[in-house]
């Protein structure tokens, strides 16, 4: 943080600019919440008002809660995102450590393969995966939603870059103390890599929470549907979108992410600031 104690004006100007920008970026979200509280004919009126007339209505929310099993969708989202993140860290942290710090034949080739993996869009393997999952009867299961994402080459790359910067002395000291490689990974490296891990966790959870493409293919019906699919319920190309309910569903489905961010805000900002990852 810059030191502006001598003269308060630069600080105030900075706060003003940042505050205005913050409000600008927050506007779509505020607009969503505002629209979710209005009846449809008020949303469509020619005049623009952020505050709903007469204090607003909760009818849209009541509709969404009545028509879509919201808790089920949110729970599915937690299971899927949590499962994916768990396995991604389980595989990517040791892999990143090995590529960054261990010397073994073929290491550079392996890193090359990781880079190559980054180039494959995830839509490409979707159809083979679909056919394979239907063969082994995994469609409409959590496994179908989790397994394709358990290995993240992006995470391996990210951790490799981060571990590269960790001092070798740390690892040497651990070896001298008699730790084996696995406990080095989990007890020495990971605690030091927490900023990188939280930064990656944000990207992973947000991406999979909002993912529409793969759940739409792998899942039919409510039982395993993820939060993004609930929002889709209120879209209809032919019969017209129901904007009030659409916005209410979006507000409900994004609320857990917003809450999680608010709770762990400091961690996240640290993680992104120290890994040089900026969106």
């Amino acid at each position: 943080m810059a030191d502006g104690r001598a003269n308060p004006w630069p600080e105030a100007a900075r706060l003003l600019v940042l505050g205005a920008l913050g409000l600008l970026f927050l506007m779509p979200y505020l607009w969503m919440v505002s629209a979710s509280l209005k009846p449809l004919d008020e949303i469509f009126r020619a005049s623009l008002n952020l505050i709903p007339e007469g204090g607003g209505t909760l009818r849209n929310y009541a509709r969404v809660l009545a028509e879509v099993p919201v808790l089920q969708y949110l729970w599915n989202g937690v299971v899927v995102c949590g499962g994916i993140l768990f396995f991604q860290l389980l595989f990517a942290v040791p892999a990143g450590y090995a590529i960054a710090k261990l010397d073994f034949p073929g290491r550079d080739w392996m890193f090359g393969a990781v880079m190559l993996g980054l180039l494959v869009p995830y839509h490409v393997p979707a159809l083979p995966l679909y056919v394979a999952f239907s063969w082994i009867g995994w469609l409409n299961t959590f496994a179908a939603l989790i397994v394709p994402s358990v290995i993240s080459v992006f995470a391996i790359f990210l951790f490799r870059q981060f571990f590269k910067a960790l001092p070798d002395e740390l690892i040497h000291a651990a070896r001298i103390d008699g730790m084996n490689e696995l406990s080095i990974v989990w007890r020495v490296i990971l605690p030091n890599a927490l900023p990188a891990a939280t930064a990656f966790a944000i990207f992973s959870v947000v991406a999979h929470w909002n993912d529409l493409f793969w759940p739409l293919i792998a899942v039919t019906g409510h039982d395993r549907a993820t939060p993004a699919l609930a929002i889709l319920y209120y879209r209809s190309e032919e019969a017209g979108d129901d904007f009030g309910a659409l916005m209410a569903a979006s507000a409900i489905m994004t609320a857990p992410l917003v809450l999680a961010f608010l709770v762990a805000q400091r961690r996240f900002v640290e993680g992104i600031a120290t890994t040089g990852l900026k969106g």
């Binding site: 019906g221 019969a239 017209g240």
Partner: protein
């Protein structure tokens, strides 16, 4: 297939039809029914399933849905590859041809005729034609929509028109829309929902066809097609139609800034809700081409039978038959606002007369069902690309001031190319 209860008495009453008069050696069956856009259809399917459960308690119906027609079609195509088809699937009329050509939809004609004359139960030839493709009865129509006019009665009055004496043809409509945009400051006269479907509707109004009878070549590049394109070109020039996308056009209408909105009845429920009490909304039948009878392309969805297992196939057929029967169609119309696809539901006042008296906005769509023509679907794998190409070309005339004759020639060439490369 075991023949069952083809009795005239059973056909006379839907309730009687639903209760099997002959004890059947068949236990409980569970079927899976797929339908798209739950926002529009969920209420109607829930109502029908409840009535069906009372009539045939031994059949339990489970639903799966997909957000849109396009996603629904892709889902069923994928499931056909992996052998996980639902027993019954509802698809948009224009996508049904693809399922018929690929052998996924089964021919329903034998099932229909084993019950006697289909027309006696409301399945008249024009209604069945909506879902007849590739030489088979690929589906039974479930819900229909056609193009109507949504009017802002207040704007028309301020422009000096009597809202009870509106013009019947396009010349009158364009003059009226032009007057609204001139006389009411800040208002636009009209917006036309341009798409391949409304192009067909205008072309039929001019007496044209999309392809020749034998499908050897396209048929829309003749004088009727040119007249259609010229009519479209008059919308921005004479009636000052603004270049809006469909969502923006609904917003303009609901905000009270648009005189007439020309579009499918499918959006009626959502437009009525968006307008709310902002102004008086009216609907009227589609304008005719001067000197020609009214003819319209019909949109909507039909149920196609995909079950292979004989017991489930029979159960799925019974559900489809119930959903498209007189009672099922009345439930569908009341819960969704779509136009019923059973002639008995349309003709017999006991089903919907009360509903239309209370909801007069829904009436024009039913009144013009007698002018219904099937939504033509192009043959081959490029059908969707062809529809998109037509939509793009129509847009050029409406939004970019392009020459109608030149655009029609380009469109014809593009569609011919896509038809040839169908493989």
């Amino acid at each position: 297939m075991t023949p069952c209860l083809p009795r005239r008495a059973a056909l006379a009453l839907p309730a009687a039809l639903a209760a099997p008069a002959i004890p059947r050696a068949q236990g409980a069956v569970a079927i899976t029914v797929h339908y798209p856009q739950p926002l529009a259809f969920k209420d109607s399917f829930d109502a029908i399933a409840a009535a069906f459960a009372r009539a045939e308690p031994q059949i339990s119906v489970g639903f799966v849905t997909s957000p849109s027609y396009a996603e629904g079609a892709q889902q069923v195509l994928r499931q056909a590859v992996t052998d996980q088809l639902p027993d019954l699937s509802f698809q948009s009329f224009n996508l049904l041809r693809m399922f018929a050509e690929r052998g996924i939809a089964q021919d329903l004609a034998p099932l229909l005729t084993r019950e006697g004359d289909p027309a006696a139960s409301g399945y008249t030839p024009p209604l069945l034609a909506l879902a007849r493709f590739a030489g088979i009865q690929a589906g039974l129509p479930y819900a229909a929509s056609n193009a109507i006019c949504y009017l802002n009665a207040e704007l028309l009055r301020r422009a000096g028109f009597d809202r009870d004496a509106l013009p019947a043809d396009w010349d009158g409509h364009l003059a009226l829309a032009g007057a609204v945009s001139q006389r009411v400051p800040g208002a636009d006269g009209m917006w036309f929902a341009h798409s391949e479907w409304t192009f067909q509707t205008l072309l039929y109004g001019h007496g044209g066809r999309m392809m020749r009878e034998d499908e050897s070549d396209i048929a829309f590049d003749g004088p009727e097609g040119l007249a259609t394109m010229r009519l479209l070109a008059r919308m921005p020039s004479e009636a000052r139609m603004p270049p809006l996308n469909p969502n923006a056009a609904v917003q303009a209408l609901a905000a009270g800034r648009l005189g007439i909105h020309y579009r499918s009845t499918a959006v009626l429920a959502s437009i009525a809700q968006a307008v709310g009490r902002n102004f008086e909304l009216r609907t009227t039948v589609w304008p005719v081409v001067p000197g020609r009878p009214r003819q319209l392309a019909i949109g909507g969805a039909a149920g196609m039978l995909t079950a292979r297992d004989p017991a489930r196939r029979e159960a799925a057929w019974r559900f489809l038959r119930f959903a498209t029967g007189a009672e099922g169609q009345a439930l569908m119309a009341m819960a969704s606002g779509y136009v019923p696809c059973n002639q008995r539901t349309i003709d017999e006042p006991r089903w919907l007369a009360e509903f239309y008296r209370q909801n007069p906005l829904f009436r024009p769509a039913v009144e013009q069902m007698s002018a219904a023509l099937p939504w033509f679907a192009f043959p081959g794998a490029n059908a969707t690309r062809i529809a998109l190409s037509i939509g793009r070309h129509v847009e050029q005339v409406l939004e970019r001031d392009a020459d109608p004759a030149r655009v029609l020639a380009e469109m014809a060439a593009d569609v011919r190319r896509l038809l040839r490369s169908r493989g």
